[in-house]
Assembly symmetry: D2
């Protein structure tokens, strides 16, 4: 496996499996002397944590983080800032009985063919747990952006096609299907304000191309659209040229409008109903099995800070490309 | 401007403006000793060329290419293979009257703010003409993939929301709006078959993330979705886990199913109706102007080989990451 | 600070300061299913450890390592293999009295100007302690190379200009100067055998260019020469073309001869004699001070595994570029 | 072949063979709105040109350049600035008789093994002609550096071990050996002044590591040393810490002293005396042959602008990493 690093000037490298000793993220390229509010990192991690709301899995993951480098006397030093998460509460035996079978909708089969080997305990690198690293790194990027008045927010547009329900109604919907061993997907909106005009690079690293790369690298995401997106074909050129349709990006550069994009989140593949698993020792053979353990019936809530974080990392990287990374004052 | 290079192991670098001396693409990382069918390159370029069908602009662009390096006695040498396109038939004076005004829906404003300078003749690097480079490079990648049985195809799903019309009916639709000085968008499907299981990298360079980056870096594209995409929220987890919904990618790796994604193409912003342009010397001031010259009323046909090419470049890059680049036999 | 990652396909990212919680290295791009001999990693680390021989500092660094990801049932999984070193035995107060002064021959002044901030406890990232990460990663690369019969070795050519002394005589020489609070430099030779012909990339990433980058990135190294090197000007072209002068690299590619290069190691700048320090609050002002604490009088012995490791990482990266990274068999 | 791109933020990509249609360089990442003095580019190219002084080959290479993109109204636009060199005066038949034999001291053998194919006309990518691209790009970087008072210079220290001869005496020396069909090497010094303190990145991309990579990627260079270099072992630590020994780099960052390094240039391998060539169809068989055509007896003069250029490209890249790339004013 390669390419566990993301970014051009501000780079994050993540490592670790859900059932190994620790996961972590190395953030390389941060400006020095920036004061970090560690409570905000924890706050974003708490939004991502399973068990935080009734909508999520009842696992109790240890999402307390430790900054082990690049941070001294409350500020970034400019050296690689590394955050680690020590694992515990690992129910490896939940995975033992299915270790020779590929779960439908998962990467199990592809991993086995590609690597001829996998850490079957919880998905290894394809586990959603990897996103703790992204959220912690993103929480730092969000603080630096915020010091320049750039803010990022996200919200749920729909779950299982139902729009504009209250949080309570969404919870009820999720609980109903959870009871049936099923999972639900939805649609999420991300917005960012006060982005200076001209961020992004005009050809291959257009701002929308970079954000798409970042967002589509999150496991459950199956689509992304900017501004009027797929609906733009319902407009004529002169209509689509008007304010509000670009999603804040024209010709690949931020254009001064609010950044706006929407994301398709699929129903999580870990469902407890019985399904056909592929026998990894004989790829043509199937077996009827079910996934046990605690899993998310709907990750639409938990994914919000992950989406915000990946957006923040792209925006800060693009800012650095234009402005460099002058140290903060002492 | 930076980052005019795309790819990890197989890298393409494009250069040139629509109204400069030439455009070109340097393809770095190709295996040596692969025989190239230059007629196929021209065939793909002809599909992209304006004026090829009545649906496109009536400009006569010179899309004859010259391979100037990396190619000897009909085969790749393994050195950077460079293809150039000499420009001619440039109607620079079409642009003279609007050089101090930013066209709506274009990158003009963002370029001016970012670079304080732009080649106003035809959009510079943000011109669609840059895609000749991608198509030529992609045509080579498609030949190498084809030698391993991997095929890529694309087709129009809808234009202005109308699905499944015949080519003749689409042409009529486009001509009608062209007469009004307007442009149309649409939806396109791309598919690839016989991709080996396990391509892509599991975390940041998931196959769908790489393809999204590549496809969203094409000017007119505003959205992308894989498999059941945005519609996946209408399915339960167990339903979405079934064959046909993944789009051929699970957990970021190719999973043995057919690769399938769909793309939103916006109506081209170059329309001839009068619009409000931003005065580049006073960003708060507007002026009523119209874009003259020959422009595409709908690029859905022309964009097909560009989409296929960017897909091919990603797939070949991922193949090289696994298999290396052994030279062909003499 | 940026660019804490080295390599094209096989990449290592190091993090951590000498006086923080931990240092570590993320090795991204390893082939899967390769069995690792962890004892060999420790053996190489022991060669690098201060206090191992009387030639080195008497500090007792904890060089026990922990593999925290990418390793399962004794084999690489193909995911990022991460090795961490927990710090202890940190004498931070040795540094307290000189925290406002830049040590001569160190990066202190440049760090302060660049970052306006530094972790003054022991040099931060510029500490030689960072090389534990390189040695651990290199020990894995050496095992993979060794499985393909490629071996790497290094030896001391001279210390303080004295060639071919016995180990005992070198130790005496070092002890003498250590007693005076001084340090010594030397010259080291690195060789590698059985490298397949054709490794390296012919233009910017010539094998000698990559090795020079890798080796010169080690703090104490001030020069490198391949084959007949600086002495080649004493030969005529036809003489220099003969076997034995190329150092194993012709035109940037391995040419089938033994890889041979030599390295200049400067006397370590941490000496305990009094010197003129620069006042970091007034760069034109000097103060007479001395560095206390335990420091290496000569790092020529300790640097050997670091040189071997960086060489191994370059060679394996180049091998992967040609051959890809097929998983080992189960 | 891969990795024909050099640089982190300012990247150059070169392409083209000595006997193809053209060579070129794409310079990606330049700041916009910088006025270029094209006469200075030609001046640097003329210093590199064979036939310029009697010391060089009598070939008449066409070193007139054409800027084909990224340049408008005398200034950089911020888009990729591309410079091409059209080839002519190609004596391909000089190479015909040796096309099945590997010249000693050249990359011919390694190319054939690696790529199973090579453009035998003049060395292909390993030809020294590729350096026209580096000189043109470097001439632009030197102008931008110069606008910030940073100057770069180089001079010959010795040829064939003879130091401090006059230019006339060096010419005589070279002519003597040229008459015998031989070639000579030498030692060159490069210096740069007014570099701001703190350039470079402290770990893998130390300023000396980047410069070594850049300089060792030039074909004829076999060694590099900074400051007191290999001679530093003759000094004690406290002596070597004094001003003048660091070469302007401490801990990998520029330290405010003058940048100083020296380079070993080997005698060019193209000599006309008879030598043993390797039969490419039977690698164990040798044949006595000689290289005909016009070749350089000593490239020490011609390599000066190449060394300056690679140094300039590294320094500007490092400057951009700290300061970003703000556009020039209109």
């Amino acid at each position: 496996m390669s390419f566990n690093t993301f970014g051009n000037i501000l780079k994050i490298t993540t490592f670790g499996e859900s059932h190994g000793a620790m996961l972590g993220v190395v953030i390389d390229g941060l400006q020095s002397n920036f004061p970090i509010d560690t409570a905000f990192i924890q706050k974003q991690l708490d939004r991502r944590r399973p068990g935080f709301s009734i909508n999520s899995t009842s696992r109790k993951e240890s999402d307390t983080f430790e900054i082990v480098s690049g941070f001294f006397n409350g500020k970034t030093t400019g050296t690689p800032l590394t955050i680690v998460f020590h694992n515990n509460d690992q129910h490896s035996n939940d995975y033992e009985k299915i270790k020779d079978y590929a779960r439908p909708g998962h990467a199990d089969l592809a991993y086995q063919v590609r690597y001829k080997n996998r850490d079957y305990r919880g998905g290894g690198r394809s586990s959603g747990r990897e996103t703790v690293c992204r959220v912690a790194a993103g929480a730092i990027a969000m603080q630096i952006l915020s010091s320049q008045s750039i803010t990022i927010s996200s919200k749920i547009i729909s779950i299982k096609g139902k729009k504009n329900l209250s949080e309570k109604e969404y919870e009820q919907l999720i609980q109903t299907y959870k009871g049936q061993g099923e999972s639900l997907g939805g649609r999420i909106q991300v917005e960012a304000e006060n982005i200076p005009i001209g961020l992004g690079e005009p050809v291959f690293d257009k701002l929308d191309a970079l954000i798409s790369h970042a967002i589509m690298s999150i496991g459950a995401v199956k689509g992304i659209e900017f501004g009027s997106g797929f609906a733009s074909e319902n407009l004529l050129g002169s209509e689509n040229n008007k304010i509000g349709h670009s999603g804040g990006i024209s010709g690949g550069l931020s254009d001064g409008e609010k950044l706006h994009f929407e994301v398709a989140v699929k129903p999580t593949p870990s469902v407890s109903v019985v399904q056909q698993f592929t026998d990894l020792k004989d790829l043509k053979s199937k077996k009827t099995l079910s996934i046990t353990g605690r899993h998310d019936p709907c990750i639409c809530y938990r994914i919000l800070p992950v989406l915000e974080s990946m957006t923040a990392l792209v925006l800060l990287d693009c800012l650095y490309a234009v402005n460099g990374r002058k140290p903060g004052e002492n």
